[in-house]
């Protein structure tokens, strides 16, 4: 799994590419926590290029959202489609995490 990171003031956009499964989730988790631990951040994750999403990845996202809740920090996801969206729908995580249709909408929300 590859990650691209863009930072713009307090907004950080993470673009993972590939499978998010039990092999790659630890790396993903480590990266997420290093991003939110360093400075106050509004974290946007682009899910468009994620080809497979394991249930455990949702647990990691939930833990990050929990850590960021209560302050000015935010976690937003966008670009969900096909199978990835289906996993979010079945699990009900669409009602727990902040999800936007695209990057513009997500950026607009966190500004």
């Amino acid at each position: 799994m590859n990650f691209e990171i863009y930072k713009e003031n307090d907004i950080c956009i993470l673009r993972p590419t590939g499978r998010m499964d039990k092999e790659t989730i630890p790396e993903f988790e480590e990266l997420l926590f290093s991003l939110i631990d360093s400075t106050p951040v509004k974290l946007l994750i682009d899910m468009q290029r994620v080809t497979f999403l394991a249930g455990a990845a949702l647990g990691v996202l939930l833990a990050v959202a929990k850590r960021l809740s209560g302050g000015a920090d935010r976690l937003c996801l966008f670009g969900l489609s096909g199978r990835t969206r289906e996993v979010f729908e079945v699990s009900g995580f669409v009602s727990i995490l902040e999800i936007h249709s695209d990057e513009i909408s997500a950026r607009g929300e966190v500004r």
Partner: protein, 543 residues
């Protein structure tokens, strides 16, 4: 004779079914305690096989006990050896004329079955099966004695007589297909007693019947794994060793006239049927001392050949394996900890749901989890039956019961879901639903496990939202699939709808379990600390 054969096999099957139902947790625990020493374990095996005459029922029980951590493989081995000796006694018993006792047993058991309380059905069912088994034997014996008078049969027996090797293969083949060396030997004894077969052929037939049973077990064990395969291999090894020694000895006796097994059984009885039954008993008894000496090495070898599966290792009780502590509060905390392990075990079962096109692995995993759940339920019932329980203890018992009934229902739902998903994957590999549903459910279960571990209010709130009617996303998925864009055939649609309904049931059960945990409050681990420390020191619980 054919009617007797049918009755015999029906009774064996009926007996096996009733015994499996009888093997509840209390019986299992009693057996586990009784088998603490080798002679006692052998006696248990012998008594069980004499009473039940069903090797498969015994294996079923032993595998369950070893998997649940209530018995070690080394403890189970003498039970198998005792059962072998007991099987020999059963065959000897079958040669006796006990018609009156059999009819009496069927009459009493039948009346009790029809008119006694429902909870006695299993015991009376097993008793009536034993009676029918012997009645089938008697009918066969009567039929065989008439067969002797028919020309064609006499000519057939005459042509095949005097060929022990042929009798050996006939015994092996018949047992392989009939799946019971006791049953096949019983039929052969009828032939011997009616003079339709000679003793030499009869002895080799008995050896063949035992080998046939082992071959069958080997074929069956090819699809088995873990403890089941270990027990099957042990039985196979026993019979193989016996045959490798006794078949050459038979030919030594035949060609040199040295007094060996045939001379031995002839000296003990003049009745041909009893002689064959003695040969059967000898086959199953004489390697016992050797196997008793090698209990440890054979157990290590079996574990090397067929190591316990991941689910079997996970299903062993960790906190409830030793005797329950006196304080009800501590006993309940241990139940609580073991229950968390059970949820972890169910979660690892999701691995079997991923990409799988058959449900065998999932079923094995769920069966192992069910064994652990039964151990936990028994401990819970034990705690509930104690005196001097506080109101808090009662509340905790009630909540833990709710958790366990929900987990039991989850097990059934997961098995159902596994079957539907396997079917969908075979018929419509292009549908992403199967993969998405496994990952989605796994994510909710992970939140439930977190709730069970920490009782964190935020986690409980999240779980309740995920499993609420509003949060549950199955409905959206259902609408998307059923709007026709995926062009489903009616049959595929039926499987998909079934799978979705089971998913909804599972999500609801996750929510109910979470609610029960919410009521239990935060785990007071500090109360357990001194107890667990003592257990660790004594090596009963690992860190």
């Amino acid at each position: 004779m054919f009617a007797g054969l049918g009755l015999f096999f029906f009774a064996m099957h009926f007996l096996c079914v009733n015994l499996k139902r009888l093997a509840d947790q209390r019986l299992r625990q009693r057996i586990a305690k009784l088998t603490s020493t080798t002679p006692a374990a052998m006696l248990v095996g012998a008594v069980m096989i004499v009473m039940t005459q069903s090797g498969s029922a015994l294996v079923f029980l032993l595998v369950g006990l070893v998997r649940a951590g209530m018995m070690t493989l080394k403890q189970a081995q003498p039970v198998v050896l005792g059962a072998n000796v007991g099987a020999g006694l059963v065959v000897l018993f079958l040669t006796m004329d006990i018609r009156i006792a059999v009819l009496l047993l069927i009459g009493v058991a039948g009346l009790l079955y029809a008119f006694s309380a429902q909870n006695r059905e299993r015991v009376t069912g097993a008793a009536i099966s034993v009676g029918l088994l012997f009645l089938g034997m008697q009918i066969m014996r009567d039929g065989a004695s008439q067969l002797e008078a028919t020309d064609w049969f006499a000519r057939f027996v005459e042509s095949s007589a005097g060929s022990p090797l042929l009798a050996f293969f006939a015994g092996a083949a018949l047992t392989f297909f009939a799946q019971s060396s006791v049953a096949v030997t019983a039929v052969m004894i009828v032939f011997l007693q009616s003079g339709l077969m000679g003793l030499q052929d009869g002895v080799m037939f008995v050896y063949g019947a035992n080998i046939g049973g082992s071959l069958l077990m080997m074929v069956l064990s090819a699809n088995l794994s873990g403890v089941q395969r270990q027990v099957a291999l042990y039985k196979f090894g026993f019979n193989l060793v016996a045959a490798l020694i006794l078949v050459p000895l038979f030919y030594v006796e035949l060609f040199t006239g040295a007094p060996l097994v045939i001379a031995f059984v002839s000296a003990l009885s003049e009745n041909a049927g009893t002689q064959a039954a003695l040969a059967y008993a000898f086959f199953n008894a004489f390697p016992v001392p050797l196997f008793l000496v090698l209990l440890g090495p054979t157990a290590s070898l079996l574990r090397k050949i067929s190591p316990e599966t991941r689910s079997e290792l996970g299903a062993k009780a960790k906190y409830l394996a030793s005797s329950a502590p006196d304080q009800p509060a501590i006993a309940l905390r241990l139940v609580d900890l073991e229950t968390k392990r059970l949820l972890d075990l169910i979660s690892t079962g999701f691995e079997a749901l991923r990409q799988s096109r058959d449900v065998k692995k999932l079923r094995e995993h769920l069966d192992a989890a069910e064994l652990l759940r039964k151990v936990i339920l028994e401990a819970l019932n034990d705690a509930a039956s104690r005196r001097s329980l506080s109101i808090e203890d009662y509340e905790r018992i009630d909540m833990l019961m709710r958790v366990h009934y929900a987990i039991g229902a989850m097990r059934d739902a997961l098995e159902e879901l596994g079957a539907e998903l396997a079917c969908l994957r075979r018929k419509r590999p292009d549908l992403s639903f199967s993969d998405s549903v496994v990952e989605g459910l796994d994510a909710i279960l992970a939140v439930l496990i977190s709730v069970a571990r920490r009782r964190d209010e935020h986690d409980i709130e999240v779980l309740l939202r995920l499993t609420s009617k509003e949060g549950n996303g199955i409905n959206t998925i259902r609408l998307a699939y059923l709007q026709g864009e995926h062009l489903l055939k009616p049959q595929d649609r039926e499987h998909l709808l079934n799978a979705m309904n089971v998913c909804e049931r599972l999500i609801w059960l996750f929510g109910e379990t979470g609610k029960a945990y919410g009521s239990l409050g935060r785990a007071q681990v500090e109360l357990l600390a001194p107890f667990l420390e003592e257990q660790r020191r004594s090596g009963r619980v690992t860190a």
